[in-house]
Symmetry: C2
Subunit: 351 residues, 2 copies
């Protein structure tokens, strides 16, 4: 945990679902840490977190908390990032922000290392970590874009409740128990904690993630659309998304239709390409019923891809099924991976 | 139950999930029945079913069971239909078959009354009831096709386990209980009872419904593709499907992308059209978080449509979310509705 040549790392939102995964991922990856500062809201401050055998007390996040910090991983909501990320940057830290606060800011790189790590060089103190559902899709699409070009993407998602936080997972489990025991239950969180109405998620599917925009798409859908174009540097790419919440605790799935630019590409060629693609595990053997499923991806950093097949009508069209642990590649692992690349590329140096 | 001017109706597969719903729907719809014969496999024969206060003993289905029958509703698997539907027809019955046995037979009409009831006149003894996931989609698409034309459909489904029978619902519930109680469990039925491997469905999503075909699509996906073209009389329509099983007991949902032929159509026009469409209930008010969900559709005959919005790039493209009770409009209600239309159009007359 304490390496002399390491970095002073801060985790903001250390008691949340993603914050906890960030800490665990830093440990698992053996990230070179000189000092680890755990920060949270005043409400959670004082909690003691066991990090690889060492007890660390969580402190309230304040501007001065970032003195001496080299890398700050933020995952405590957009308003906290908007307020404190500039304070961290002012004190010399590089911020990796897992909220939507800076993602579409044109001076902030939005990075998935397998896709656009060279954008890290353009940072102005903050690097944004994309939305969970965007990350796993672009990891699968990038090798295809690189070799065959990419014209169009239409995605329908099957998203786990942990994307809405630990309380949403608890709500799913409580409602499930109540239904099985034939007891009354309430819906208080999903689909969106801050929206007006809440609906049953147990044994249901809710076609709303985040709030609705004026154009009829939800904010989650617009994140997938806009972030994909930005990360892949394809402003002209046609992207459409429908985002749906499922009674699954962890693991997002996506049914992705895409059109390439090059004619004559076969499904076998796409499979061969993804078999060796960074961050991708190909699970595609219909004869043996091999395809990715959320229950199998939990705790793994990879993006799992299967069900690759050519559209029966559209010469340039293909379908695939993409699954990943939304708390890892979709959040904690992508953030820590960005921190790793910042170190390895010499963009962040220990103070 | 016993109407002098009514019909002698037989239900084949009377003890199954859909058979039970067929009986209930005949009662609810006050279908003019002179005599009701309940048939099943030898295994289930002898069971007594209470039909609107009257006890009826289930008999083993044999060729001679259909003597005097006017209308036979089949839902006991494709092999039973292949064997016994011709026997029923030979004895003067009109068969409404809810299996895939005759759906793609060119001499058998495949009917969703809201879409192509005039095809009923072309029957040769058997009328096929389409696949559940196809029915609800074409009910929503037909009014759009009629007014604006239809070029292309890409659908991703979110299907309930009851589509795989009552035992699959039991498996979902048993696995859910086991996971909540942290007990061991087995997977024995889903995704496909007769396939080699079985996977956990509780808190999971399985991208396989029915067996895989050589082209990488599942049979369920090919049913949606081929049946949609046949029912809508659009052999040139581009249709693609990805079918996914969810931990939901009853109620299929579908994320449908479609392209119309006419330029300049707005989402408001599509909504206005579907508001008054037969068999459709529009639930589309994003400002008030109104959209269809499987938990709300159970026990209702309608097809619920919401989340209608124009694609942001494709001038002819739209998205919508379609939900229906897969045991009712997807199976029992569509079959009984066909029987009602056969009577009302004078195609079947009581013997």
């Amino acid at each position: 945990m304490s390496q002399q040549n390491g970095f002073h790392v801060a985790v903001v939102g250390a008691t949340g679902a993603v914050g906890q995964q960030m800490i665990q991922t830093l440990v698992n990856e053996n990230f070179p840490i000189k000092k680890l500062t755990l920060l949270s809201s005043a409400r959670s401050a004082g909690k003691v977190v066991n990090v690889n055998g060492q007890e660390i007390t969580v402190q309230e996040a304040k501007p001065e908390s970032f003195e001496g910090v080299d890398i700050a991983l933020f995952s405590a909501g957009g308003s906290v990032s908007k307020e404190l990320a500039p304070e961290a940057v002012k004190r010399g830290a590089v911020v990796v922000d897992n909220t939507s606060a800076f993602r579409m800011d044109e001076n902030t790189p939005l990075v998935v290392p397998e896709v656009n790590e060279t954008d890290l060089h353009e940072h102005n103190g903050v690097i944004a970590n994309p939305n969970c559902s965007t990350i796993q899709m672009v990891v699968a699409l990038e090798p295809i874009r690189k070799k065959y070009g990419l014209k169009k993407v239409i995605v329908s998602t099957y998203q786990a409740v942990s994307g809405a936080g630990a309380a949403a997972v608890e709500e799913l489990m409580d409602q499930t128990k109540a239904i099985i025991n034939k007891e009354e239950f309430e819906a208080n969180i999903l689909p969106v904690g801050s929206d007006k109405k809440h609906y049953q998620i147990a044994f249901n599917a809710i076609p709303q993630i985040d709030k609705f925009q004026d154009n009829g798409f939800t904010f989650e859908e617009m994140k997938m659309i806009n972030e994909t174009k930005k990360i892949m540097h394809l402003p002209e790419l046609q992207v459409a998304a429908t985002c749906v919440r499922l009674p699954v605790a962890v693991g997002h799935s996506e049914s992705v239709y895409f059109e390439v630019e090059q004619e004559g590409v076969t499904a076998s060629e796409i499979k061969a390409l993804l078999k060796d693609a960074p961050g991708v595990v190909l699970q595609d053997d219909p004869d043996n019923q091999v395809y990715p499923m959320p229950a199998d991806c939990v705790g793994k950093n990879d993006v799992f891809v299967g069900r690759i097949r050519k559209d029966l009508d559209e010469e340039l069209g293909f379908h695939m099924w993409v699954v990943s642990d939304n708390l890892l590649k979709g959040a904690a692992w992508n953030s820590v991976q960005i921190a790793e690349r910042l170190v390895e590329l010499g963009i962040v140096k220990s103070k």
